[in-house]
């Protein structure tokens, strides 16, 4: 029974990581940028939720506002910071991403203060019992929403014209441009989709961890990044797999009483994967043509 309960725990945590890892992976896949500000988008989503709920919006409206807010933030970020650097060396863009991450954290601290703020997203409470195992509704909803989002993403990427364009840009930007694809708007669209997933992830995250601080996105983003690398950065199924793997790893380490090693275990996995299989679990090793 305990194992089933812990399994559900891991599944819930894993689906949150997976949703966030998708944003990392998609952006990397298309412009080879590690968007380190991605975790902070979730933090902003948390503050949007607090204000939307405090302003008296219906919870469903608040959720939509969070997703829209995250998406808008990502588009602004992309237009202001990354578009001007499209032809710059990748290291410059990477450093810019770190800069934006710090900027967002410090702006949040300036405007909202460093004090942790409670956030209460009205979610159905209670639980259903299957045999001797009781599963709380938020867990089921989290897992369900995450799976639905991933199915929807898969459809967008594989089944629509936009998705086809995204894959084309990811494969060869210049060739895609020659074929008449507007590369800039496809990149912006990719950022927007990644951020919308992060917005959904933010809601699910703050249901489970109902406290917002200006730095809440830092560790979360880092772990999602590791999940993306573990799965194979740039690969959408890889990000999902990596997210669930990290979720299971954390819950197992905590459950066997080694909680002081939780973060250590996650980073150890990063080191091992980089040493043993740098392309990730499902990534194809890239052959550099000279």
């Amino acid at each position: 029974m305990l194992y089933v309960a812990q399994f559900i725990n891991a599944l819930q945590l894993g689906s949150i990581y997976a949703l966030i890892a998708l944003g990392y992976s998609m952006v990397y896949g298309i412009i080879k940028l590690l968007n380190f500000a991605h975790g902070d988008v979730i933090m902003v989503g948390g503050y949007v939720a607090i204000f939307a709920l405090a302003a008296g919006f219906h919870p469903v409206v608040a959720v939509i506002l969070v997703i829209l807010g995250c998406t808008a933030l990502a588009i602004i970020m992309e237009k202001l910071a990354y578009t001007p650097l499209r032809t710059a060396p990748r290291i410059s863009v990477l450093i810019t991403a770190i800069g934006i991450s710090l900027l967002l954290q410090n702006l949040a601290q300036l405007f909202f203060g460093a004090r942790p703020q409670p956030i209460h997203i009205p979610f159905p409470t209670g639980s259903i019992s299957i045999g001797a195992v009781s599963i709380a509704y938020p867990m089921i909803i989290t897992i369900g929403v995450a799976v639905l989002s991933m199915v929807a993403l898969n459809y967008i990427v594989q089944g629509t014209k936009l998705g086809k364009a995204m894959r084309a840009v990811s494969e060869d930007t210049q060739a895609a441009q020659l074929m008449g694809i507007n590369v800039n708007s496809i990149i912006t669209f990719t950022f927007a989709v990644g951020a919308a997933l992060a917005g959904i992830g933010a809601i699910l995250f703050f249901v489970r961890f109902p406290v917002v601080t200006p730095t809440v996105g830092a560790m979360l983003g880092l772990k999602a990044f590791i999940a993306a690398v573990l799965g194979g950065i740039g690969s959408i199924p890889g990000a999902m797999l990596g997210g669930f793997a990290i979720g299971f790893l954390e819950v197992i380490v905590n459950a066997v009483g080694l909680s002081r090693w939780t973060d250590g275990a996650v980073f150890l996995v990063l080191i091992i994967i980089l040493l043993v299989r740098p392309a990730g679990l499902v990534g194809k090793p890239m052959i550099e043509k000279v």
Partner: protein, 411 residues
């Protein structure tokens, strides 16, 4: 509370003590001579020859400025309120000389000697553990009665190297592990719990100390601790640990952490299906401000050193008088200092009743002996002392009901 900084302070002060001891040994503490004449000279009230003692001179030591000033000023307000009220009754008058040690251990030692030179018979102070521990060995050598309202470190009353008790030093506050003992007894006696689980932070000294004390006391009284889980201070995810606790299904779960943790533990324990009664310590104060959904900690009990919610008349009186005097509500530190002053002055009255002259060694010894035998109903609970001069107090228990921390009673 802030253990890391306290430890840093302790280390720093150890260096300072070593320095001060090394350089300071020769001039002041040659023989124990200085104490007698100066003290005898300044406490000019009376002789022991039948005349009535009208005045006793005591010292008040603490950080009125500097980083610990918040605590220092609270303590001074609390102690002076008691003394002014006492003096207003007429009869014996308590004269107070106060010295600012600025939160600095070396300065605290200097200020202590300054007070000795001024001829005080006893001292209330100091406030934080570091400076207090710098002063205590000197005061112990001088046989100076001392009481602190707020210094929580175990080393304040017991020499940590030799295990020797500083018999002259008392305090009116809880030491940290005492809270763990209290909650184990509360679970066993009041809640009739048979089994308990513990969830604590493995990288916070406060949390470790309380956990250990709870587990040790539980073993003594027959409360079975069936499960212990830990987490790291900065980690937000306790779900796996709480799921294990839910599976172990204890009667109570002791969670000796700060409110930044309880804000996360409450909702997650509800989701994990923990049904055990939650128990906490003074770190739980402020939980209801930090938590998003108070219903997730409904029914939890936690302990505090002082509460506004008490219905006992002498506590209500104290709060009213304090507010009238200073325009603010008393905090826990002020209340504990008020009790420290009460304990000391009661002991001094006893020494006077025995016909001794303030300032003499006999008077100080009698004051110390009277303090050790203390049994008073203070504003922070009923206080007696154990053989380490740490208070055996009744604690105030609060319970969270309908999203409010309600006063459950004293224990």
């Amino acid at each position: 509370m802030k253990k890391r900084s306290i430890i840093a302070l302790v280390l720093a002060l150890m260096m300072c003590v070593a320095l001060v001891a090394a350089c300071g040994e020769t001039p002041p503490a040659g023989p124990t001579g200085p104490t007698d004449p100066t003290a005898g000279g300044t406490t000019n009230g009376t002789d022991a020859s039948g005349e009535e003692v009208t005045e006793v001179h005591i010292g008040l030591l603490g950080p009125w400025t500097g980083g610990a000033a918040y605590f220092g000023v609270s303590v001074r307000n609390g102690a002076l309120l008691y003394i002014e009220n006492f003096n207003a009754q007429g009869g014996l008058q308590i004269r107070v000389t106060d010295r600012d040690e600025e939160g600095d251990s070396a300065r605290a030692v200097t200020m202590y000697h300054d007070l000795v030179d001024a001829g005080v018979t006893a001292i209330i102070g100091s406030v934080t553990s570091g400076p207090t521990m710098a002063v205590v060995p000197e005061a112990f050598a001088d046989g100076m009665p001392m009481i602190s309202g707020t210094a929580t470190h175990a080393g304040v009353t017991v020499n940590q190297d030799t295990g020797e008790v500083f018999t002259n030093m008392f305090r009116s506050c809880f030491i940290d592990p005492f809270q763990g003992v209290k909650m184990a007894e509360f679970a066993h006696e009041i809640l009739s719990a048979r089994t308990a689980a513990v969830l604590y932070a493995h990288d916070i000294d406060y949390s470790i100390g309380l956990m250990q004390a709870f587990v040790d006391r539980a073993a003594e009284i027959g409360l079975e601790v069936i499960h212990i889980e830990t987490f790291a201070d900065e980690a937000p995810d306790f779900t796996a640990q709480l799921t294990n606790i839910a599976a172990a299904n204890p009667d109570v779960v002791f969670i000796p952490v700060y409110n930044r943790h309880t804000a996360l533990i409450g909702p997650q324990s509800a989701a994990a299906g923990v049904t055990a009664t939650m128990l906490g310590a003074d770190g739980w104060a402020g939980t209801l401000d930090a938590i998003a959904d108070p219903s997730t900690v409904e029914g939890a009990f936690y302990l505090t050193g002082f509460t506004y919610e008490s219905e006992e008349q002498h506590i209500i009186d104290f709060i009213e008088r304090f507010e009238a005097q200073y325009g603010i509500m008393p905090n826990m530190f002020a209340a504990q200092a008020y009790d420290a002053a009460a304990i000391l002055i009661r002991a001094i009255e006893g020494a006077i009743a025995a016909g001794l002259t303030p300032g003499t060694d006999e008077f100080k010894q009698a004051t110390i002996a009277n303090m050790a035998a203390t049994d008073i109903e203070g504003v922070t609970g009923r206080i007696t002392f154990d053989r380490y001069n740490n208070p055996q107090k009744t604690a105030f228990i609060l319970q969270i009901i309908d999203g409010e921390a309600r006063f459950w009673g004293t224990f």
